[in-house]
């Protein structure tokens, strides 16, 4: 046998390449996250941050009464910078995966978790709390706020389920229902916003764009748990999703009920996105463009697409956060992802003309 490669060999090397991509992106994402420790802060630079972390790992915790400045540096790094970077990675991953699954489910390349109305509903929940002080579950502080967002974001889901039970729903219809719900909740929020005082108004605006401020360790734990659950869930479903993506009739003949699978996936996406959105606000475009980018590297099989979307999402978000902090001035990360994302989005939009996506 000469050096000719069999199809099996080609496949194996292609697979290996895909795995490599995923690992590469993960490494880059973590690298950027570590770099972000030193960004945008007048007090902490990179060396200080690393020193603090190493000290902590060695068990050294500064005592405030002995050295206030060391204590301050330690606090800023451990309570602020590190959880924020971790939160950014995890939220990016969640949004990326949700976007990928969603686009597969509704078979539309322009779908994103944002367009199912989840973000709008979650935002309304937060606005309710900020302006009226109303919480569904009266827990003070952060948790109550998140519960508001979570509970309300189940509404679009429920609507989709109800409609799909009553009548046959095409993927497009699901998307449009999502958009309609988004308009509805935007209307509610608008009415709230108008009665708000100017400083509350600014809070709501920034939240509706998305920002990584204020993510502490408690948030990181919750987010991490959500991500793990999501990944496990989706990877179990990956085969069924691929089958469903091949077409309605094909899936039925292969023993997979497309509408069932679709709804289950949508519910899962809604739940996870609402958790992410509750902590960071509506960060758009990540769920929209990451799946496209992933597909370029690892193809459309869900088993590869989902992990790749996760790491690429993490990468995009943490990179946007670094850029936002470098530019300073209180620029929220959602604005940067929108600015980075829109040329990519427009490019894909135009490519769609010639490309055979859609029905």
């Amino acid at each position: 046998m000469s050096g000719e490669r069999t199809p099996e060999d080609k496949y194996v090397s292609a697979q290996r390449r895909r795995y490599l991509y995923i690992i590469l992106f993960l490494a880059i994402a973590i690298g950027i996250a570590v770099y972000s420790f030193g960004v945008g802060s007048a007090v902490i630079d990179f060396n200080i941050a690393i020193k603090v972390i190493i000290d902590r790992l060695n068990g050294i915790v500064p005592d405030r009464s002995v050295d206030y400045w060391a204590w301050l540096r330690d606090m800023l790094v451990i309570e602020d910078t590190v959880p924020r970077a971790l939160g950014g990675l995890i939220i990016g991953a969640i949004l990326g995966v949700c976007g990928a699954v969603m686009q597969t489910c509704v078979r539309n390349p322009l779908a994103s978790p944002y367009t199912t109305g989840i973000s709008a509903a979650a935002l309304f929940g937060v606005t309710l709390s900020l302006v009226l002080g109303f919480r569904f579950i009266p827990i003070p502080g952060e948790t109550g706020l998140i519960m508001n967002a979570f509970i309300l974001s189940m509404f679009p889901c429920l609507l989709m389920i109800m409609v799909s039970v009553k009548r046959k729903t095409t993927p497009t219809m699901l998307v449009l229902i999502g958009i309609g719900v988004m308009y509805l909740f935007n209307a509610f929020t608008m009415i709230m916003k108008y009665r708000a005082e100017p400083d509350v108004l600014k809070q709501i605006q920034l939240w509706s764009i998305g920002s990584l401020t204020g993510i502490g360790w408690s948030a990181v734990y919750v987010l991490f748990a959500t991500l793990i659950a999501l990944l496990i869930f989706m990877l179990c479903f990956s085969r069924k999703m691929d089958v469903m993506a091949s077409g309605e009739n094909q899936s039925i003949s292969l023993g997979v009920r497309p509408d069932r699978v679709r709804i289950i996936c949508m519910v899962a996406i809604s739940a996870c996105t609402s958790v992410a959105v509750a902590f960071s606000g509506a960060i758009g475009f990540v769920g929209l463009i990451i799946p496209h980018l992933s597909r370029l590297f690892v193809g459309s099989k869900s088993k590869m697409l989902i992990p790749c979307s996760a790491v690429l999402g993490a990468l995009l978000l943490i990179a946007s956060d670094v850029v936002a902090r470098l530019l300073g001035n209180g620029l929220p990360v959602g604005a940067v992802t929108a600015v980075i994302g829109s040329p990519v989005f427009i490019y894909f939009l135009i490519k769609m003309r010639s490309n055979g996506w859609g029905k």
């Binding site: 539309n108 409609v163 449009l176 229902i177 958009i179 764009i209 620029l331 939009l349």
Partner: protein, 368 residues
């Protein structure tokens, strides 16, 4: 044997052509009647709204208006003098603006739906309004000020910035025929993008400008005065006239691009002109009142069930229904608030979003 043209009883038999012509004419007459009815109701509601704005009796309103027109004035600071100011400086421009805006938006919506062959198209859902709003934010941050009469500059900015989403929509046009939701999704993404750009601007701007930009993002008519009217009227009239002239050709677009071309219409060109006209209209309305959505979306659908799909009837009927909708929403706003007028955009969204959902859910699935 019966002579030709007569039946067995000796009456004349109408022949086929006559029947069709007569049916067409009578149905046309009915449609025109409906349109007239809509406008009459619109007029009644508009006049009624004066009593709400000024909290005064109808007869008193008429008295004030006729006195004002005939040049009588009241002694300064008398109650009548104040009432006259409220009606003339505040209520009248507001109602007139609502009428102009409703007509403009209805025209824009109906024609866009035909041009893009998409039942959900409307300047708002497609992202054009958001683009115009970004133009407003840019204008304010550059230093134009509403209070100091820079309305023309602000409107021009609104128009220019509405051209961005417009260009994208045009590029996307052919693709959207097979998949109507694509257009809407693109519109959602564009709106989000412009919102993000707005935020970036708002970070750099002070609190009062922030508040003004907010009001515009929601859409309000409560700050309309006489200086807003000429500009808006001019642009809306221009845009609407353009669209009305093109309405026959627009009808042909619904047959599909290929058929339209064979009938002598250049679809891309036509769409472009139509959308530019729409941008004129939207830029002017957003420039004074902010984003008012849903009128262009919902009214054409409702009137189509009564007058069919011919734009010759749909556009005026939507205009009439649009006027009814916007003034009713404004009256509702006034009744529901204590200190400040709830913005009419919010009320319209409250009414329009459920209708949008209804339209989506009720459609036969093969349409999507």
């Amino acid at each position: 044997m019966t002579p030709e043209g007569l039946n067995s009883e000796g009456d004349s038999i109408p022949d086929c052509e006559d029947i069709l012509v007569e049916e067409y004419l009578s149905s046309a007459r009915i449609k025109l009647l409906l349109i007239a009815l809509l406008f009459i109701i619109a007029a009644i509601i508009a006049i009624y709204s004066f009593t709400i704005y000024g909290d005064m009796e109808l007869s008193y309103v008429f008295e004030l208006i006729s006195n004002h027109i005939s040049g009588n004035t009241y002694p300064e600071y008398s109650p009548e003098w104040f009432d006259d100011i409220i009606i003339w400086e505040s209520a009248l421009p507001r109602v007139i603006f609502c009428i102009i805006a409703a007509i403009g938006l209805a025209v824009a919506g109906a024609s866009m739906q035909t041009a893009m062959n998409n039942p959900l198209a409307d300047p708002y859902t497609v992202g054009i309004s958001s683009g115009a709003c970004l133009g407003l934010a840019v204008a304010l941050s550059v230093g134009f000020s509403v209070n100091h009469g820079d309305l023309l500059g602000i409107n021009i900015f609104a128009f220019i910035f509405s051209l961005f989403p417009l260009a994208l929509i045009l590029i996307l046009a052919p693709k959207t025929h097979s998949s109507p939701s694509t257009l809407i999704l693109a519109g959602v993404a564009l709106s989000y993008l412009f919102n993000a750009a707005n935020t970036i601007i708002m970070v750099t701007v002070d609190a009062e400008t922030l508040e003004t930009i907010y009001k515009w993002q929601v859409g309000t008519v409560s700050d309309i005065r006489w200086d807003n009217i000429p500009l808006t009227l001019g642009f809306v009239a221009l845009g609407s006239a353009l669209v009305t002239i093109l309405s026959k050709k627009l009808n042909l677009l619904s047959l599909g691009d290929a058929s339209a071309t064979s009938l002598g219409v250049d679809p891309d060109n036509l769409r472009m002109i139509c959308l530019v006209a729409i941008a004129f209209i939207v830029g002017a309305i957003v420039g004074s009142a902010g984003i008012i959505g849903f009128i262009g979306l919902v009214t054409p659908h409702i009137v189509r069930t009564f007058v069919g799909s011919n734009n010759k009837y749909v556009i005026p009927a939507s205009a009439g229904l649009g006027i009814i909708m916007i003034i009713t929403a404004d009256i509702l706003c006034k009744m529901f608030t204590v200190y400040d007028d709830m913005p009419v955009g919010a009320m319209l969204a409250l009414i329009g979003a459920p209708i949008f959902l209804y339209l989506v859910i009720r459609r036969k699935s093969n349409v999507w």
